[in-house]
């Protein structure tokens, strides 16, 4: 940068060592985020026994914020509906929000506030598995509080007093893969994946289902989450004569992957791409032509033709007009709604008793007749719930992408615990 020949004055001077020292200081300074207080949504009326206190711990800020804000809005929507209809056994629900800030370290302190200061009766929330792992101990073990986790995930969470209301690998894969193999004639699968726990465990399950149905996994590969270049992967897909890409690549590495796959002519030559977390939010992530023909499998799509689901969407749109945060399955919003309604059903059964053991015993076999995509029921002793699952394919019409639901499977078993 500078020559050493007697440059005078206070000109720029920066050596490699000083650069390294500077970056180190930056890292050490860290970045401490999170909100200080949390939010409270009080009911409009009171009850002699006081309200039921419900804590929501979700990512209001940080990279996962779009999903977290959707969850928080759906929680408000569901609770306002319950309170508007007279509460649970006459008692209203009071909502407390803490921001988990897409950062497990910040989250633990904030979640503790829900337990210790707010003394909530139940906590719902977390989107990523890393977040669930971080906050489940402060809630369930040290906090002795009931915890409901709403997101689709990799399974294997069998902690007592922790109930999961999102789909498991079995629910997302058991119907989709046989459909692709039997109906669509797919034989050779590729599994490009982001390198973290959800793709790893989902792939392990999906591989078993693929092989059990006579398919073959050509390669299973993991990438850094923000990898910007995939020509090597595309080369393997081409050389391996792959006819179905089962992708678990996530943003920000997602878009360059999908673009390079599309540019290679994979779809044009008859290849199928499937990715089981694709919901309506993802429709805007890619140009329409790259989305055309993509298969997803979730517990709800806005295209599901069910009167109650339609009514929910209309109510949500009215409550949050023009919102950027959609009520969809991939953001855990449907699991959030389901969790709140299942909790309501459980408390109704206990006759208003809010003790953790009582509610957990009732929640263990709780049922709701209606919800986004249909009803749901907890599988007794398993802490996961049966729900309807839908296989959808993305269609593009006049430059606008949308999902068409092509198959509905009633009350699919989670096969966990």
């Amino acid at each position: 940068m500078r020559s050493d020949n007697g440059r005078s004055g206070t000109g720029p001077s920066l050596g490699r060592r000083r650069l390294l020292a500077g970056t180190g200081a930056l890292a050490a300074a860290g970045w401490i985020g999170g909100t200080a207080g949390g939010w409270v949504l009080r009911p409009r009326w009171a009850h002699a026994a006081g309200p039921i206190k419900m804590g929501i711990a979700t990512d209001i800020t940080g990279p996962i914020a779009p999903s977290g804000n959707a969850d928080w809005q759906v929680a408000q929507f569901a609770v306002e509906q319950i309170n508007g209809a007279g509460g649970v056994g006459g008692r209203p629900i009071e909502l407390f929000l803490e921001d988990t800030a897409s950062d497990p370290k910040t989250a633990v302190g904030n979640v503790r506030r829900l337990i210790q200061q707010r003394k909530v009766d139940v906590v719902l929330g977390a989107i990523t598995s890393a977040m669930r792992q971080a906050i489940k101990d402060p809630i369930v073990n040290r906090g002795r509080t009931l915890y409901i986790y709403p997101q689709l995930y990799e399974g294997q969470e069998c902690t007592k007093f922790l109930f999961c209301t999102g789909p498991t690998p079995a629910q997302q894969v058991d119907e989709l893969i046989p459909y692709l193999i039997k109906e669509k004639g797919r034989k050779r699968f590729a599994m490009p994946s982001a390198n973290y726990v959800w793709p790893q465990l989902l792939n392990r399950y999906a591989r078993r289902v693929i092989e059990a149905h006579g398919g073959e996994v050509v390669f299973e590969e993991y990438y850094p989450l923000d990898q910007p270049e995939y020509s090597a992967t595309i080369g393997k897909i081409r050389d391996g004569r792959v006819d179905c890409v089962f992708s678990t690549v996530i943003a920000p590495g997602l878009q360059p992957f999908m673009k390079q796959l599309y540019e290679s002519g994979f779809q044009r030559e008859g290849g199928i791409v499937t990715c089981v977390y694709y919901d309506e939010n993802l429709l805007n992530y890619h140009p329409p032509q790259e989305m055309d023909g993509l298969y997803s499998c979730l517990d709800y799509f806005q295209a599901v033709d069910d009167p109650f689901s339609r009514q929910l969407q209309e109510g949500y749109a009215k409550r949050f007009p023009g919102t950027r945060y959609l009520f969809t399955a991939g953001s855990a919003s449907t699991g959030m709604y389901r969790g709140i309604k299942l909790y309501e059903a459980a408390v109704q059964e206990t006759g208003g008793k809010l003790g953790r053991e009582d509610v957990a015993a009732a929640l263990d076999h709780a049922k709701i007749a209606q919800g986004p995509g249909g009803g749901a029921e907890m599988v007794p002793g398993k802490m996961h719930c049966r729900m309807n699952m839908y296989v959808a394919v993305c269609k593009v019409e006049a430059g606008k992408p949308r999902y068409d639901v092509i198959r509905r499977h009633d009350m699919v078993d989670p096969k966990e615990c």
Binding site: M1, R2, S3, R7, S8, G9, T10, G11, P12, S13, L14, R16, R18, L19, A21, G22, T23, A25, L26, G62, P63, A65, P66, N69, N195, E221, Y222, Y223, P224, D226, Q227, P228, E229, Y230, S231, A232, T233, G235, A251, P252, L254, Q255, P256, K259, E263, S264, G265, N281, N284, Y285, H286, P287, R324, Y325
Partner: protein, 284 residues
């Protein structure tokens, strides 16, 4: 034919890296400031295209507007804050990092944290010998080559380039000769920012617009500048080519998760044995 395709893919990614690194390299080499907000400048270039598109303008208009917008922003930032940090490069790093953070979080708010897809102005691909080549990547390769050539010509063959080099070689003497070094520094910073804006606008169709689009490239860009050597225009360009070629080529031979750190290991090993970088002799 597949070898040609491989070469094309690597060349396309090398072009992306070179485009991104050029702005950073120019500012680091000319002014001694490591601009930690460089990633956010790239992101703002991308955001300009998105904003213009939302306003109904065609995407090529956004690509032309991006460097102009960033040049103005760069000039304003240099006049208001950056020039106070020339004497303290570490403060400059922390300060530009803070500026970057502010820009990033504002844009995150504007985008609602979502990712936005931007369409290429030239869509689709063409087939050659049964292999598909993307039009937009081809455009990027040629634009990069043109920009590199133009920058090199500007800095080494024009009067302004000569004055810039003079001001860096010996600011006191330059001032004594009647060259306004303050104005030149402002111009150089704006020029680097404009290059970042152009890079962001050109690459965003390949990725998706998000507040963090620049962060990913920032670390690799610094590695490129270190590898290439600070002090010349060609050094960082060479470094970026090496890092880009490794990042695109290594996943062919090792598993992708290993390829990422391996790029750093190889680059840092080279830096260990050539601490001055690949190019040092003969500053611009």
């Amino acid at each position: 034919m597949l070898d040609v395709k491989l070469a094309f893919d690597i060349l396309a990614f090398v072009s992306v890296m070179v485009l991104i690194v050029m702005g950073l390299g120019v500012i680091a080499s000319m002014m001694g400031v490591f601009n930690f907000a460089h990633g956010e400048f790239v992101m703002l270039g991308a955001y300009t295209v998105f904003a213009m598109q939302e306003a109904g303008a065609p995407s090529w208009a956004g690509i032309i507007a991006a460097p102009l917008v960033l040049a103005c922003l760069g000039l304003a930032l240099e006049r208001l804050v950056i020039r106070r940090w020339y004497a303290a490069p570490i403060i400059a790093m922390l300060g530009t990092f803070a500026i970057g953070l502010v820009i990033r979080e504002i844009v995150r708010g504007l985008l609602g944290g979502h990712y936005k897809s931007i369409e290429e102005p030239v869509r689709g691909s063409f087939a050659l010998g049964g292999v598909e080549f993307s039009w937009w990547r081809t455009v990027i390769i040629f634009v990069t080559a043109a920009v590199v050539a133009a920058c090199w010509f500007f800095l080494t063959r024009t009067g302004t380039g000569l004055r810039i080099r003079g001001a860096i070689e010996n600011p006191m003497l330059a001032r004594a000769c009647g060259i306004s070094t303050a104005r030149l520094y402002g111009f150089t910073f704006a020029f680097g920012a404009a290059l970042a804006g152009l890079a962001g606008a050109l690459i965003v169709p390949l990725y998706q617009l998000s507040a963090d689009i620049g962060t990913r490239f920032l670390v690799q860009s610094f590695l490129s500048v270190m590898l290439g050597g600070v002090g010349s225009f060609t050094g960082p360009v060479l470094g970026a080519s090496a890092v880009g070629a490794m990042a695109a080529g290594l996943p062919w031979v090792v598993i992708p998760v290993l390829a990422d750190p391996l790029v750093f290991v190889i680059a840092l090993t080279i830096v260990r044995f050539r601490p001055q970088g690949l190019l040092r002799q003969g500053r611009l």
